[in-house]
Every structure is written in structure tokens, then in C-alpha cells.
């Protein structure tokens, strides 16, 4: 059974992730588990970018805008509602709605790829400078202050329907991991549906797809909105992990990180970017604790080197190598069998 690139493969990966979740508390220290919750939020952001970029062909440089909108929407809604369950849905909805409105302007304007990249990046940067200026008591939504530069506090997750029963960090970790697995399986399932296949064909050749009678603009808005919703969910988990959300979620660095993770992991896969997020996050964190090399310097070098030398990313490069070796072994076996047959008949 072929696993790589099929829905079966997605399910197997999800199974491995469940085993990881169950084992993690006995392997890692408590502090690492708390950090892991933030990283899970970030990896959902990367997953959403891998979905929209790798499978929808929509180059969104400002995916962290939806991530940040999700985080802010969750924080504001949770403070106003006094509970987290509804706020999660509000966050996903607000992020997706924002993306759909933005998508209407860019996709129906038939803006080209590169313009789209720059526009999404700019939206994120403008949100950054807007949110930084919202300090002061006059900037509030309901009872939640936006807090300007310092950001606003994010209430922890609680049991559905019982706002006073807050989840412990360990439970938050389990919930986040569950969200990640659900988002991953959902994305893996989405690209096997008809909708997903049309999106992939738009990535391959937009003109041909529209000549086949599909309204490519609607499909693009669709995948853009879905991935923005997933990014919003990532924002929720991230701000719960950090316990507050600051304008830095909209910063250039945050958008760059998501892009770097996707490129390193591999654009045309879903699991590659998620794994790259975990590995590179802890790598950068350990770099941050020493003074010798600046983190930006290292990230910039990684990005330049990967674009020039490994443009497909780590996972596709490895799986291609693996497939090639398998193909070679297979052809060698076949040759051997033919030789034996000739030998026998002679």
C-alpha cells in the first residue's frame, strides 16, 4: 500500500501524532510541555500556509495576519463572553471572514501571484502598526482593552459550558494536540475531495482549469478562507500558550517564520511544514539563548540557502530520494528475475 501522498498516509501520521501526544508527558519536562502548546499554535499556522500555498497555489505572505486576527478575536471574545468555547469559534469565523473579504478584492480583481503576496504582507504590516497605536482606554471592544504595544491578556481555555473550570497546562496541551491532529486530518481530507482536486489543478494551471468550466476565483477564495480559519485556530492556541497577544503576531518576522517553516519542510506536503515548525522552533530557541549568532541572521541565511539550493524543501527531497532508491531496487530485482528465467530456459 502506498502511503506517501495519500489519505491513508495522513491517517497513519495522525496515529503517530496521537502516540506522541500520549507519550510526551512522560518524556518531556513540564516547562517544555507549556512551550509545546505555543509551538502547536505556530505549527497550525504553518499547516494553513502549506494548505493554501502548496495546494491552492495562492502565495499568501501575510498568513500571520489571520493568525493574529484569530488571536485577538479570541482574546477579545473570551473576555467579553467570560468563557473560551464560543470564543474559539468566533476567532475562526472572524479570521475566515476577513480573508474572504480580502479575497474578494484580490481574486476578483485578478491580481497576479506576486502582487497577491505583497498585498497580503502589507495587510499584515498595516495591522501591525494599527494595533501598536491602540494603547489607551479609548481603544476597546466591549470590556476588552486592546492595549497597544503591550497587547492584551488571553484567558486560558476552560471546560465547555463551565467558565470557572479552567484547563491545567497539561490538559491544554492535550486539547491543542487534538486540534492540531484534527486540523491536519481535515486538511489532508480536503485535498482529496473534489474541491481540493480543483484547487490543485488551479495551482498547476489556472487558465486550463477555468477553461474546463470552473470559476477559479471562487475556489481560490474558498481555500483562502478555509486556510485563514485554520490559521485563526492556530492563533487561538498560540495566545493561550503565551497567555497574551501582542501586535508582534502581525510583524514581518512572524510572517517570515511561517514562510521559512513551509519552505524548509517542503511546499507540496502537509506534514513537512508541521515537522519543520517543531524542529526549527527549538533550534531558534536554543540559538536565542546564546549571544554569538543573531536569530534573524540565522533565519535569513536558512531562507536564502533553501531558496537557492533546496527549493523543494526537506521532506519532498527525501521522499524523492527514497522513491528513486526503491525504483532502482525494483528494477534491479526485475532484471535479476529475467536473467534467472533466461538461465532456466536455456
Amino acid at each position: 500500500m502506498r502511503l506517501y501522498g495519500t489519505f491513508n498516509g495522513t491517517l497513519v501520521t495522525a496515529g503517530l501524532a496521537i502516540i506522541f501526544t500520549l507519550l510526551a508527558p512522560s518524556i518531556f519536562q513540564f516547562f517544555t510541555i507549556i512551550t509545546l502548546t505555543q509551538v502547536i499554535g505556530l505549527s497550525i499556522l504553518t499547516l494553513s500556509l502549506a494548505l493554501v500555498w502548496g495546494f491552492g497555489g495562492v502565495l499568501c505572505f501575510g498568513q500571520s495576519a489571520f493568525f493574529g486576527i484569530g488571536a485577538y478575536a479570541y482574546s477579545v471574545a473570551a473576555v467579553n463572553f467570560g468563557g473560551s468555547t464560543g470564543a474559539i469559534f468566533v476567532a475562526i469565523f472572524v479570521a475566515a471572514a476577513f480573508a474572504i473579504i480580502l479575497g474578494y478584492f484580490v481574486f476578483f480583481g485578478r491580481v497576479s501571484d506576486v502582487y497577491l503576496a505583497v498585498i497580503t504582507l502589507t495587510v499584515s504590516l498595516i495591522l501591525y502598526s494599527l494595533m501598536r497605536r491602540t494603547s489607551g482606554p479609548e481603544y476597546k471592544i466591549g470590556s476588552a482593552l486592546l492595549g497597544g504595544f503591550n497587547g492584551t491578556g488571553s484567558p486560558p481555555l476552560n471546560m465547555p459550558g463551565n467558565a470557572s473550570a479552567m484547563l491545567f497546562p497539561m490538559q491544554t496541551f492535550y486539547v491543542s494536540m487534538a486540534f492540531l491532529i484534527v486540523a491536519y486530518v481535515f486538511s489532508g481530507w480536503l485535498i482529496t475531495t473534489k474541491f481540493g482536486r480543483v484547487c490543485i489543478s488551479i495551482r498547476e494551471n489556472e487558465v486550463r482549469t477555468s477553461l474546463l468550466g470552473y470559476d477559479t476565483r471562487l475556489y481560490k477564495i474558498g481555500i483562502f478562507g478555509i486556510s485563514a480559519g485554520i490559521a485563526g485556530l492556530g492563533g487561538v492556541l498560540f495566545c493561550v500558550g503565551v497567555t497574551r497577544v501582542t501586535p508582534d503576531v502581525f510583524s514581518l518576522g512572524q510572517s517570515a517564520l511561517a514562510i521559512i517553516w513551509v519552505i524548509v519542510g517542503g511546499r507540496a506536503t502537509l506534514i513537512g511544514p508541521v515537522l519543520a515548525t517543531f524542529v526549527l522552533y527549538f533550534l531558534t530557541a536554543s540559538l536565542g539563548s546564546q549571544q554569538l549568532l543573531n536569530a534573524n541572521l540565522v533565519l535569513g541565511s536558512i531562507l536564502v540557502v533553501f531558496v537557492l539550493l533546496v527549493p523543494n524543501g526537506v521532506v519532498p527531497t527525501f521522499s524523492k530520494l527514497f522513491e528513486k532508491r526503491r525504483a532502482k531496487r525494483y528494477s534491479r530485482l526485475k532484471e535479476h528475475r529475467i536473467k534467472m528465467r533466461k538461465h532456466r530456459s536455456a
Partner: protein
């Protein structure tokens, strides 16, 4: 009346500022269809050149008008030879590589100068009085510089042989190559020239804003939006988009305060792109540069 003049001056300054920070990007984009995400860092490097030079006793005017464009132009040349020339025709990879470059520059400068503001140099001109309002003389100077710069770029494109060759490459690179023009050399020069203009802009703005390793972020959002709204024509695009967006930004900022000025700028640009996906010069002034 004084209020009107002072407000008009503010808006004109906003327009000039926008044109100044976008021109380097527009030159590179218009000629090579390359969007340089490290543009903000070129501005930043220009600013650092001026600050370092003045702190070492160099005349501030010389540092701003000569040293900053020279240093950043050379850096642009190195970047083009080492990185960009391998990526022509791969637009998305160029975007990504220049983004990596921008992080790299921020990292290098942070390691050398630290993450905080390096000594601020004061704007070297006094104030100008308009009735009961005052305006900075340096802002007036910047407006004049931008006008001079635009005229200079126009004359270079129009009258010199380099400009002729550059325009030919811009219209049809393959045909220009067939006629014996080394397009790769033209691209190299253009990129370096764009970097030099960015360096000049960064140097001129340094006395107003001070310098920080990540100060580029302040500029690039506005610069990108201006260049994309303007379209591929370098001069007409930059000028028309700067006037439109700078005007909107100025008026909205005056009415509601600076918070929503930038949001209005972005909003205008997005609606503009919905109506004219190839920018203002994709619809109007098609024959212009």
C-alpha cells in the same frame, strides 16, 4: 488661510515622502519586474551609513547626498551578482530570497550596532514660519530633493544612451538582447541604481527618524503599496500613486489622527487594485515611463 497652507504643505510632504521611499523599489520593479523585499533594509543601510559617517566627523550633507547612495549602491551590486542574477524569471523565488536577505541584513546590523537606536542626528535646517504655524525647513528641503530626483530620473531615461538602452530592455528584453545589448549588465546596473536611490532616501530620512536595525518595516508596507498601485511605469506610476495615496493618508490623518491614516491608505490601494489590477499606469498614462 495659514492653516490651509500649513496643511497643504504637510500633505505635499507626505506625498514627497512616499515618492522618496518608493522610487528605488519602483526602478527595480519597473525595469526588472523584481520585487525587492529587502528594500526597507537598503533604506536602513543608507541611514546607518549617514549616522556612522557623521559620528566620524564627515560633513552631514556629503554623507547624506554622496556616501549613502554610494555605499548602498555597491551593496546592491554585490547582492545582484551573488543572489538576484541566479533567480531571474523565478519571481516567487526572488521574493523569498530577498526576504531572507532582509532578515540577514537586520541580523548583521543588530550584531554590529545593537538593537537600540544609534545616536540620532538632528535635522540640519531650522524652522519655517507660515503665519502662526511653523514647519520644519528640512521637510521643505526633502520636497525639493524629491522633485529634483524625479526630474533627474526622467532626464536619465529620456536623454542619455543608458536610458535609451534601459527603456529598450524594459519594453522587450529578448529583442534588446538580439540587438546586442547585454541585458544582464543592464539589470545589474538597474538593481545597483535602485539600491543607490534607496540608500539616498534612507540617508535623507535618517535625521527625521533616527536609525534602528528594523526601521525598514516602517517604510516597506507603504513603499510596496505605492509601487503596486502605480504599476510598472517608474515615474508616472510612482508619482500618481504617491499623490493619490499620500493625499488620502494626509487628509484622513488630519481628520482622525494618524492611527487610521495608514489604514485608509491601504484601503484605498486595495479598492484601486480591484478596479485596476495592473495599477494606475496599467490603465492610464500607458505611454509614459
Amino acid at each position: 488661510m495659514d492653516l490651509f497652507f500649513s496643511l497643504a504643505l504637510q500633505i505635499i510632504y507626505g506625498v514627497a515622502n512616499l515618492a522618496l521611499i518608493s522610487l528605488g523599489l519602483a526602478i527595480v520593479f519597473g525595469m526588472m519586474r523584481v520585487i525587492n523585499l529587502a528594500h526597507g533594509e537598503f533604506l536602513m543601510l543608507g541611514g546607518y551609513t549617514v549616522v556612522v559617517a557623521t559620528n566620524n566627523g564627515v560633513n552631514i550633507w556629503f554623507a547624506m547626498l554622496v556616501l549613502a547612495p554610494l555605499v548602498v549602491g555597491i551593496i546592491g551590486l554585490i547582492v545582484e551578482r551573488c543572489l538576484i542574477q541566479w533567480l531571474y524569471g523565478r519571481m516567487i523565488d526572488t521574493l523569498l530570497a530577498t526576504w531572507g536577505l532582509s532578515l540577514l541584513f537586520i541580523g548583521i546590523i543588530t550584531s554590529i550596532f545593537g538593537a537600540s537606536t544609534t545616536t540620532v542626528i538632528s535635522p540640519p535646517l531650522g524652522v519655517v514660519k507660515i503665519g502662526e504655524y511653523t514647519s520644519s525647513g528640512y521637510e521643505l528641503f526633502l520636497i525639493l530633493v524629491v522633485i529634483a530626483l524625479l526630474i533627474l530620473v526622467y532626464l536619465t531615461l529620456r536623454l542619455t544612451s543608458l536610458g535609451l538602452v534601459a527603456r529598450a530592455t524594459m519594453q522587450n528584453a529578448d529583442m534588446a538582447a538580439c540587438l546586442g545589448i547585454s541585458t544582464s549588465r543592464i539589470y545589474m546596473l538597474t538593481f545597483s541604481l535602485g539600491a543607490a536611490v534607496s540608500g539616498l532616501a534612507g540617508g535623507l530620512l535618517a535625521p527625521m527618524t533616527g536609525v534602528l536595525p528594523n526601521i525598514g518595516v516602517i517604510y516597506i508596507a507603504k513603499a510596496f503599496i505605492t509601487v503596486i498601485s502605480g504599476g510598472v511605469a517608474i515615474l508616472a506610476g510612482t508619482t500618481s500613486a504617491s499623490i493619490l495615496l499620500g493625499g488620502v493618508n494626509g487628509v484622513i490623518s488630519y481628520v482622525t489622527g494618524p492611527t487610521f491614516g495608514e489604514v485608509a491608505l491601504l484601503f484605498t490601494a486595495i479598492i484601486l487594485l480591484r478596479l485596476m489590477p495592473t495599477g494606475i499606469t496599467g490603465r492610464f498614462f500607458r505611454k509614459s515611463q
